[in-house]
Amino acid sequence: MSDLSYIKRPNRPLQIYAILFLVVLYLPVLFIPLFSFNDSVYVKFPLTGLTTKWYVELWSREPVWNALWNSVKVGAAVAVISTILGVIAARAITRYRLPGKNVLVTFIMMPLVIPGIIFGVALLILMSRLGVPLSLFTVTLGHLIVCLPFAVATLLPRFEGFDKSMEEASADLGENGWWTFWRVTMPMVFPGIVASLLLSFTISFDEFIMAFFLTGTDPTLPMYIWGQLRFPQEFPSILALSALILFVSFFVVFVAQYFGRRGLESDQ
């Protein structure tokens, strides 16, 4: 590629904006760890003192850990399944000249124009009519419906911008269909897949309304927190847990980057 001097050149105002943006994005979130060390059950300024007792207390609160683990399980399952289904759909939509393609896309995007609460109630009735007991599986199904449109919406632009001639080139070089998909198509749509996984996990991990109607006896984390709002003395433990989640997320990203970098270096 030739030199794109004006793009390579750093853009000062934009850099400053980006930093400001991140500060505003993170500031509210960082109050969570801050208050998790506050020596009062009430979240307000000024802080009354520093303590780690909420973390100690959190350790002994099994329901919190259960709820967190439930959310991670559901989120991971939803992220993987909705991304796989999204890839399949996006590929079928862009690769083949399907009659009624627009109708199909509209159909997949339907949950976006229906408030989650409606799906929650409707799915709940459906499940009880079918005699399916409420469990994390019903929550997963509900979240799948919510996340799939997001997955497809994220993946579709990637597949649309995808140059078919590259697949043809690969096929010309003797690769079979799946190999071509894995070696050629995948890398091209890879940023879309990562975005879809992240987005789906994020939505599912956060989702409250569907979970509200579809949770059985295993609450997801938002459901658990909702229940705890009634009892403030439980609340600092929740803040402590959130702080931990934040910390672990940072850690995971760091590790991912570390491995990613090493991978890149060894490839070079």
Partner: protein, 376 residues
């Protein structure tokens, strides 16, 4: 661009995919090791009963006897934020063993046909349960059985800041929550199950007549009058307690536990004894008709009715308990400061005790109250 260039790009892409696979592996390891505690909790056996209750009732302190009988395992919990929410969910097909409504809602819960009578002879703590709390309207099933085993009881009243509310020598009264002097600094529980009844007390409507059209008009007028003075209506205690502790609100309608919690934090508040009388209630336990583990349901109820659970409820939450022996550990002064008594009927009848209403009334009341809250 020619084909060679493009394949070059693919090779670059392939590298990042490999890197991605590694980072996925790494984050997988990190996530798997994250909830070390969760693993332990996941071992919770499938054979425990399920208790569908308010948040805060899902703690080990309330289940000492249950855990002693079940190798230290707690029941499974499902948590709701309000009892109508719970009923909605169960009517939609959600099946639990035990749930936790209050006296005013109990007959309507029974009417759904979703619950089975409780046989008191299967409860070891039953002889110590205060009879006045059992003898509630609509609580008699056939053959000496009952629908709801009473568990906790108490008052809904005003928690106010003693340093910010000036009574000017007057008696404590519900008028505080209608005083324009404190406009924008007042709060209220958001559910009609509490607020509408308080409105009735303020409007001077006898609870026996609360279902008449005139009473409806009167209470609606009182609630409309109050609405512009309100900072917010909420169902979550945290919000009310925070606002009271910061001085954002000077007074709010709350349950007793809010005042107990705030006092424990050193906030100068008092749980009022309004001259018109507080709103009083009894909550209890009901067994779902399709309860998969009826035996465990009885164990859960018996554990909640135990003396040690009662101690915790009174001391830490400031609620009354249904086991008479639980009160022995507390002196009269302490009980009085919590607005409790060994003879609950004194407290309950000194205040205004909620009366069960029809579903029609409930629906109309909630619809009206929600419209008033929204400003219509």
């Amino acid at each position: 661009m020619d084909i060679v260039d493009q394949l070059g790009a693919v090779r670059e892409g392939k590298m990042s995919r490999r890197a991605f696979a590694r980072s996925l592996l790494a984050s997988g390891v990190a996530i798997a090791t994250l909830p070390a505690g969760a693993r332990r909790a996941m071992a919770a056996p499938e054979d425990q009963g399920t208790y569908f209750t308010w948040g805060g009732y899902d703690i080990p302190e309330l289940f000492g006897p249950y855990m002693a009988n079940n190798n230290g395992e707690m029941p499974n919990f499902a948590v709701f934020g309000g009892s109508e929410e719970a009923l909605t969910k169960m009517r939609g097909g959600f099946v639990v063993d035990v749930s936790h409504p209050c006296n005013q809602a109990m007959p309507r819960w029974v009417a759904t046909g979703l619950f089975q009578p409780i046989d008191p002879s299967r409860l070891g703590n039953w002889p110590d349960v205060i009879p006045a709390l059992v003898d509630l309207e609509g609580n008699d099933a056939e053959g000496g059985s009952i629908w709801m085993a009473p568990f906790d009881w108490g008052q809904t009243s005003i928690t106010y800041r003693t340093d910010l509310v000036d009574l000017e020598g007057k008696e404590e009264s519900w008028d505080i929550l209608w005083d324009p002097k404190y406009s924008g600094k007042l709060g209220s529980l958001g559910s009609g199950a509490d607020a509408w009844w308080v409105g009735a007390i303020k409007a001077g409507v006898d609870f026996k007549d609360i279902d008449t059209p005139e009473a409806f008009e009167k209470i609606a007028a009182v609630m409309r009058e109050q609405r512009p003075l309100m900072r917010t209506y909420t169902d979550d205690n945290t919000t009310l307690e925070q606002a009271l502790s910061s001085g954002e609100m000077v007074a709010s309608m709350t349950w007793a536990s809010s005042a107990v919690q705030l006092q424990a934090e050193g906030v100068p508040v008092k749980f009022a004894k309004p001259k018109e009388g507080a709103l009083t209630w009894v909550c209890g336990l009901m067994i779902h008709k399709d309860a998969p583990k009826v035996d465990k349901a009885y164990e859960i109820i018996d554990s909640l009715l135990s003396v040690e659970t009662g101690h915790f409820m009174i001391n830490d939450y400031g609620y009354g308990h249904s086991n008479i022996k639980a009160f022995d550990a507390f002196d009269a002064a302490k009980l009085d400061s919590l607005g409790l008594s060994k003879t609950p009927s004194e407290v309950l009848s000194a205040g205004h005790f909620q009366v069960p209403q029809t579903q029609e009334w409930e629906t109309k009341m909630n619809e009206t109250f929600e419209q008033i809250k929204a400003g219509f």
